[in-house]
Every structure is written in structure tokens, then in C-alpha cells.
Symmetry: C2
Subunit: 326 residues, 2 copies
Amino acid sequence: MANLAPVISDIEDAAIRLRGHACRTPLLNAPLLDADLGRRVFVKAECLQKTGSFKYRGARNAVAALSDAQRAAGVIAFSSGNHAQGVALAAREMGSKAVIIMPADAPELKIANTRALGAEVILYDRDTEDRDEIGGRLSGDRGLTLIKPFDNPQLIAGQGTTGLEIAEQAAAAGLNSADVLICCGGGGLTSGIAIALAGKAPALKPYTVEPEEFDDVARSLATGVIQTNTRRSGSLCDAIVTPSPGQITFPIMAAHCGPGIVVSEEDALRAMAIAFNRLKIVLEPGGAVALAAALFHRTDTKDVIAVASGGNVDAPLFRMALEKYG
Amino acid sequence: MANLAPVISDIEDAAIRLRGHACRTPLLNAPLLDADLGRRVFVKAECLQKTGSFKYRGARNAVAALSDAQRAAGVIAFSSGNHAQGVALAAREMGSKAVIIMPADAPELKIANTRALGAEVILYDRDTEDRDEIGGRLSGDRGLTLIKPFDNPQLIAGQGTTGLEIAEQAAAAGLNSADVLICCGGGGLTSGIAIALAGKAPALKPYTVEPEEFDDVARSLATGVIQTNTRRSGSLCDAIVTPSPGQITFPIMAAHCGPGIVVSEEDALRAMAIAFNRLKIVLEPGGAVALAAALFHRTDTKDVIAVASGGNVDAPLFRMALEKYG
């Protein structure tokens, strides 16, 4: 599968395709936070990306890479979350149309938002229906192209544009050497950033961060073999929970990343409150695990960059995080 | 006083001084928000600026413009809010030292934050002491230079760098003509942006936005003469409450701005909740009035840019905004 891995020129091509479309998110720094911690912490704020997460980058690049005939026929994705919104917007912007398969018990707001972005949402019953069967049938009938959530070279290249920006912004900030902590689900964002940093800023070292009990990537990196989570759902960090790393993403992460870091849900909530107070950004729990690792799981004084992957959190959960830790 | 007004080259000089120090804040756009409103809304997110508001830009430029001897002697400012933190950080970064005069009943957190940024905080009793007398005595004794909060040409030029970035970012987004709505207190930010837009993007038209009962600028613009507020405090939008526009800032605003816009505190809270949901940024009430005007006080379909001036809000107030409108 190694031949499917994107290379640095694929990411540079993606950056050209995304120019004027994706937001060049800022690399934020808070002097008061640095003072608290005794070292510099920078946050790549992908929560500010269109649709509230980095997922738009990869979706836009994947849809852009299709043939005109494929775009005209349309795309399909399985997602109840950030990938759904990224694919929906990318398809609409490029004159394609997206079909998104979502569980019928997905939050109303996520269904409504995906529809508002122009997608056709098809709901299925998790207990009685097989989403792959529905997806396969629709793809066959309509000639739709499946946009996978992470194991897709063009999608990884799109996510990797985050890493190109980090390399440039770190250099501009005088940050020559740092650990780069990345919220990790299936590994699309991490592997894209890892390739970009290896090519452009090898002194910036990537690490994955996951929530407790959903640490398939950390265990896979430790053993050298793809591992699977026992639990499949029920995490506050749902945005980054996947069964296991991908066939394409895992070898890339194994080649470039340090040991995986694991944080608790409570630490993710604490990091959300600190991001509110010090950085003025809204993070979802899954989007806050890298910042949590930077804040609570480091004992050295090396500069650190935390990639905040998304901010799609409902108001009641955010209020709870502020009430506990704000 | 017109000869004290900065010109476009002063703002360009400020941009060079701020490069690598101030954050180039993003011009955010949310497709879902555009869909709700039927036109494009962009938000210049100055809440993401260092210290959580645009104030750092002007403070850094004003401190940079001092002579070496003045910087060595130190600077002084009167502020319990965003100006205090901007001046404190700018002075510390440039090897100067800041004395900040704050009322003894200012929020503990703001006093602590200002001290954490390296400033010497001197508290005074609002009822029994005269802050100007204290400030004058300290300045005389120590040779400190006063950094006024808005009526200072170098400070206005620094705030104006926000406008240069808006002109560049709007062009990159294909936004050739738009109304630019700006949260307005004493007018430092508005007048700086107005000069920058007049020089670089004259099809972007500035407007001031203020909270009800503190609409001194709107009344001054309407009458052509500087007006004063009856109430001096007690607004949720405290960050942008000033008695009246400045001697330097008012003529600039009168020359460039359309009629002033006034919004309610409740609309500011509603805008905070929408910024949370759609843009993933944290706004304080005073920093949300321009977005509130864009959302609730416009009936046409012209593209609009709202400048979100700051995000220094305590968690309980933010939770209240989300509970009511989130």
C-alpha cells in the first residue's frame, strides 16, 4: 500500500487547489499561557476552518481531483460528523452533489447543517439496516464516487496542507524546533501533516494524541501492527473516534511519528476551558486533546505546537466545560 | 488637530513594525451563516489577536515609536481593560516597563492578567482618589510616557493595520465592495481602519457600531459636533464604552464613515452565541456589536465585513449568552 501514500508534491499541489477556498488558519500564541507553562505553546486553530474542522481541506482536494464526469455524477460519504460537512460544502462549491449516509439517530443539528450545505442526507437505522449495502446500491445506481474519511491519498494530501502552513508559520515565529501534537482519529490529518513536516521542517516532530480507551493508534505505533479499539462509540471525543488507523495512514505515521500520547476526557474538557480563556477559540472535545497533551502531559520545556482539529461542539457541552473548568 | 491624523504611510510603517509580532488574524466566513442571511458575511477576528483584542496593535506601534530614552524610562496607561493588557505586553516585549493605573474594584482576573504580563499595577480608590493626579505625579517622578487609549496618532496607525489586512483579505476573497462594520469606543480602531480603507480599498465603506445608551459616536456623526454620553458605565459592552470620541479620531470618522449604527445588549449576546456556533470564536459583548449589526440590523443583501474587536469575556457571562441564545 505504500505506493498510495502521497508525497510532498501532492500536498503542494493540494495547497494550490485550496488557495482562495480554504482558510489559512492562524498559528495562535498566548503570552499568558506561555507564562503559566514555562514554555511556548502555539495552537494551529483548524476549528476556524470552513465547516468548523480541518475536514474541508481534504474533501475539497479529493473532489477537485475527480474527473469532470465523476464530479457531474456526484460523490457519497458515510459520516455523522465533520467529514459530512466538509464533503457537502466541497461538493456544492465545485458544482458536484453529495449524498451523505447518516444514522437516523444522529443529532438533529448535524443532519440539518449537512442538508443546509446542499447535501442529500440519507438516514439509515443502525439496528436494522446495513449502511455499506445502502451506500453500495446508491453508488452503483447513480455512479457516485465514495469519498472515504481518511484512507484516500488525495484526502490525506489535502489535510497535509495544514502541515505546510505550520512549517511556514513556525518559521515566521522563529520556532525552529518543536513537538507537533495532533488530534488523531483514522490518521488522515496526522499522516498528511507528517509528510509535510518531513519535507519542509524536519525539526518539527509529529506526535498523535487520542482519548483514553480509544487509543488504537498509540497501540498500533507501539506494536508496529494495526490495532483495533474494543469500544466503538460513547466518547465525548466522538469526532476523532475510529476503530483503527488506515491501511494507507498507518505506515506513514509509523515512519514519522513519536510514541502516541493518550489523554483523559476530563483533560480535554479542561483544555477547552483554557482555549476559551486564553486563545478565544471554541474547541470540541476531540479537537482539544492535542492541546490537553501540551498542557497536562509534558514535563519538559521544549516548544510545542498543538493542532486544534475542530470546534463543532453543542452549546450545552461547552457550557458544562466552562462550568467545571472555566 | 487635523495635522495629528495619521496618513496611509503611517499605517504601512506600523505594519512593518508589527510584522512577526502581531497576529495576522483571519477574515472568517461561514457558509451556513451566509445561507441563513442571504448574503456573505465576513468576520475579522481580532479576538484572536495577542491579549485577546486589537489593542495590542496600537500599543506595540506606540511603544515602538518612542525614543530609546523614553522606552528605557517606561510608559504609563489608565485602563482596567483591553488597553491595559495591550500596553503591558508591548512594553515587556520591547524591553520597556509599563505602569498601569487601575481602579481598585476592577475584576481580580484583569488585575492578575495585567500583572502576569509584567506590568506594575497601581490601584486607586474611585471615590477618594484622583487617577489623573496619581498618573501625573508618577509620570513626573519617573519620566514615564503616557500612552492614551485612542487619541494618539501612532496608536491609531497601529490599529489601522487591521484595515490594511482587511483590504488584502477582502481582495483575496473576491470581495470588491462591502460595508465594514466596526465596534467603536473612542474611535481609535475605526479611524485607523477608515484611513487604511480609504487608501487601499475605497469600495469598502466603514460604519461605527455602538451599544444603546452609549451612542456618543453615532450622535456626534449625526450632528457634526462631538457629543458625550450621559451614562459612563454599567454596560455589558464595557470594553467599548467611552465618554465621547477623540479630538483626533472624530474628524477622521466624520470624513469617512456612514451613519452610526446602534444595537441592543441583547443583540450583542445573540451575536456571541452565533459566533460560537458558526465561527468557533469567543467574543465579549463589546466585541460582538459589529457582528450583531451585520446579523440583525441590515435589510439589504450587500456583502458585509464585521470587525470583532475583542474576546475578553468571563466564563459566567459567556455561559449566560449560550444559555439564552446558543
